[in-house]
């Protein structure tokens, strides 16, 4: 055990010195390696962050939403519609929802105005009170306790006292959110009582969602039923497609990188070849040289992995991924003004390792072996 460990230490020592002496030659490849890790890591970190936001939205979403449709367009639902769903067995927390968009000219941004669910005691609001998203607070430079003024398209004013600013990373992630009481909402948008944007309900047993959506459709033939499963499928379809395109592009790049690594490892300089020959002549065997070369590969990999990952972390979470954002624009339109919550977990790191370190090592195995099995008597010629 002791001899085994010291032998590894010597091999690492020699590998490090060898990198030091011949490293300049492989510096170009190493930088490409870092770049590959950086790009893959950016996509993985960004994708995972976006998915997490989406899941948070979906987890807070109702199981079934009924939307009135007229000539294929979304219409307001009425209190009478809600009553028709009242008797459905298995459904729960049935209520009409009120939400809408407001283009805010002073901030030049779209806000989402919404009345919080009556079933959620955390967001109970008095008249003249509001809870706002972090983005709204930032754009309008207000904080809890201050006043927020809104102007409707019909030039109606709404003066609100900010009760709370939603923290980043809360379940309600939309930072463009303005939560107001029902009376304020109706007055501001001039909406008569008994009208709702849509109808939401919860289903106690997840296995019954489909059945309940069907029954609701029978009760309200003019409505469209959107289940949470439908929404998740839509998100997933968009994510999968985008990520798939990216990964397809990236796997081409990975393959090219693996070939490059293979080529570099196979094309040793005459000096390095000679060194291996000397080592073998003075008593190293093929296994020793393979071990030394694998350590060299490990040092290169770990270095590139760390450098690329740290750079990607900064890129995605500190600078909001300016380099890949255009490619993933489709995602960001779903989530206007989302600041990504910085989290990295073991799953992403492991995935990244599989994508970058595994192909690199697989590519250099054969060239390493070739180098290592040089004839030990060659240096005598």
């Amino acid at each position: 055990m002791g001899a085994w460990a010291t032998r590894q230490r010597y091999l690492i020592d020699f590998a490090a010195l060898s990198l030091w002496r011949h490293g300049a030659r492989s510096l170009g490849l190493w930088l490409i390696y870092v770049l590959v890790v950086f790009v893959v890591a950016s996509v993985i970190l960004y994708g995972a962050a976006i998915r997490r936001e989406a899941n948070a939205v979906l987890d807070a979403a109702p199981d079934v939403v009924a939307q009135a449709m007229r000539m294929g367009r979304h219409e307001m639902s009425t209190g009478a519609d809600i009553e028709k769903l009242r008797g459905l067995r298995g459904a729960d927390r049935l209520e009409g929802r009120l939400w809408g968009y407001l283009y805010d000219t002073s901030a030049a941004a779209n806000f989402t105005l919404q009345v919080p669910s009556g079933f959620d005691p955390r967001f109970r609001l008095e008249r003249g009170e509001a809870i706002i998203g972090e983005g709204v607070a930032r754009l309008r430079k207000v904080e809890a306790g201050k006043m927020l003024f809104l102007i409707s398209p019909a030039r109606r004013f709404l003066k609100l006292k900010v009760k709370q600013v939603l923290p980043l990373g809360s379940a309600l992630v939309s930072s463009d959110l303005v939560l107001v009481g029902e009376a304020d909402f109706r007055a501001f948008f001039d909406l008569p009582a008994g009208q709702y944007t849509d109808i939401a309900m919860r289903v106690r047993n997840p296995a019954e969602v489909g059945k309940i959506a069907e029954k609701s459709l029978l009760a309200l033939p003019g409505h469209r039923m959107v289940t949470r499963a439908d929404m998740r499928r839509t998100y997933e379809a968009i994510f999968s497609w985008r990520e798939g395109v990216l990964v397809a592009l990236l796997s081409g790049a990975l393959l090219a990188f693996a070939i490059l690594a293979f080529d570099k490892a196979a094309g040793l300089s005459a000096g390095e070849r000679r060194e291996i020959g000397i080592l073998k002549a003075i008593g190293w065997d093929t296994g020793d040289v393979i071990g030394m070369k694998l350590w060299e590969g490990a040092v290169v990999s770990v270095g590139a992995f760390l450098a690329g990952t740290v750079a990607a972390y900064a890129h995605v979470f500190l600078f909001s991924a300016p380099l890949i954002e255009p490619v993933i624009k489709g995602w960001s339109t779903l989530f206007p003004r989302v600041t990504l919550t910085p989290t990295v977990d073991a799953l992403q790191v492991a995935t990244l390792g599989f994508f970058t370190v595994v192909p690199y090592l697989a590519a250099i195995l054969v060239p390493i072996w070739r180098t290592a099995s040089a004839d030990p008597d060659r240096v005598m010629r």
């Binding site: 499963a229 998740r232 999968s240 990520e243 990964v247 599989f354």
Partner: protein
């Protein structure tokens, strides 16, 4: 298919692993036909050289398989959010008929590859590479398994769709149902813990006997074989104990029998601390016993018994770690299942 990066990584690993093993088994075929160590012919020297590459490749595949097994389970747990009715890895694995078979195939690959590495290591200690033929026959036997493993993984991932309705641990590991899972759950806690304690004692006793250098050769050999059998027994008993008792202590809930939820962050990833030593101990014990099933080659007269003994001792150490973690779980839990 869900184009999730971890899924793509696992597919990539399966394909690389399967390709490398397929290549290695083609070489095995050639080697078995031509291997003659006494010859100084160039073709023999070339074959010997290539065995270095095969050993390196197999060690690489093995490391990758271990990583893939952990990633597979970890990812299944994370993806549970995407399936209706899934709370943990069980739901994700159940979302396709290929899920659990793929997991079992991956576990089988882990054990097969570790046996191969043991054979490879020992073979390299004998001056005439006495286990080479055995080793490469073993490789040929593993190759179809690798193929099946890659096929099942691929089928599983292709079959996965978001929002599939699936059943999770709550319905699978329920005592009053049919199937192996239910039967494991229906063990009562006291007898399950008794069973694993007995298995651990048996494995510990036989392992210490097999690992002590002082006994006569015949006894050592029997002890090694017994330890191998006991290791498999521990593996089975441990799974039963985890399902029927240990998981309950972790969740502090008298009816939640799930061997996967313990891998979650909520429970401090304690599952990994249980499974890693359990798998390692079983593989080491089985590896030691495998060596003892072979006729002892003259060139390994010293090395093989010492390695087999070392494996037995390492296996006992791993099982001891498992036992310590399990005991700590029971000790620290607020749940009282036995006695009261």
């Amino acid at each position: 298919m869900i184009l999730h990066p971890p899924i793509l990584a696992l597919v990539l690993a399966s394909l690389i692993g399967c390709g490398l093993i397929a290549w290695a088994s083609l070489f095995a075929w050639r080697l078995l036909a031509r291997w003659d160590l006494a010859s100084g012919a160039e073709s023999q020297i070339a074959l010997e050289r290539r065995t270095y590459l095969v050993s390196t490749v197999m060690a690489f595949v093995m490391a990758m398989q271990i990583g893939a097994l952990v990633l597979f389970v970890f990812n299944a747990d994370r993806m549970a959010a995407m399936f209706v009715g899934a709370m943990c890895a069980v739901g994700t694995l159940n979302a396709s008929v290929y899920g659990f078979p793929a997991l079992y195939a991956k576990m089988a690959m882990f054990f097969a590859a570790s046996l191969w590495l043991v054979a490879d290591h020992v073979d390299g200690r004998g001056r005439d590479y006495p286990l080479t033929r055995f080793k490469y026959r073993l490789l040929l036997a593993i190759a179809p398994l690798a193929l099946v493993e890659a096929g099942l993984s691929l089928a599983y991932f292709l079959d996965l769709k978001a929002d599939t309705l699936t059943s999770c641990c709550g319905s699978l590991f329920t005592p009053n149902k049919d199937g192996i899972a239910a039967e494991m759950a229906s063990f009562d806690a006291a007898s399950a813990l008794g069973l694993i304690a007995a298995a651990l004692l048996l494995a510990g006793g036989t392992g210490l006997a097999a690992g002590s250098g002082r006994l006569p050769t015949g006894v050592l050999r029997v002890a090694s074989l017994a330890h191998g059998a006991a290791s498999l027994f521990v593996f089975g008993a441990a799974l039963i104990a985890i399902v029927s008792a240990l998981s309950l202590y972790v969740y502090e809930h008298p009816h939640h029998h799930c061997p996967f939820c313990i891998l979650k962050r909520e429970y401090g990833y304690v599952g990994f601390a249980l499974y890693l030593p359990l798998f390692a101990g079983t593989a080491l014990g089985a590896g030691g016993a495998m060596l003892r099933t072979l006729p002892l080659p003259a060139s390994l007269n010293v090395a093989l018994p010492s390695i087999a003994g070392g494996l037995a001792r390492a296996s006992v150490a791993a099982f001891a770690l498992f036992a310590a973690v399990a005991a700590a779980i029971v000790w620290r839990s607020g749940l009282i299942l036995i006695g009261g």
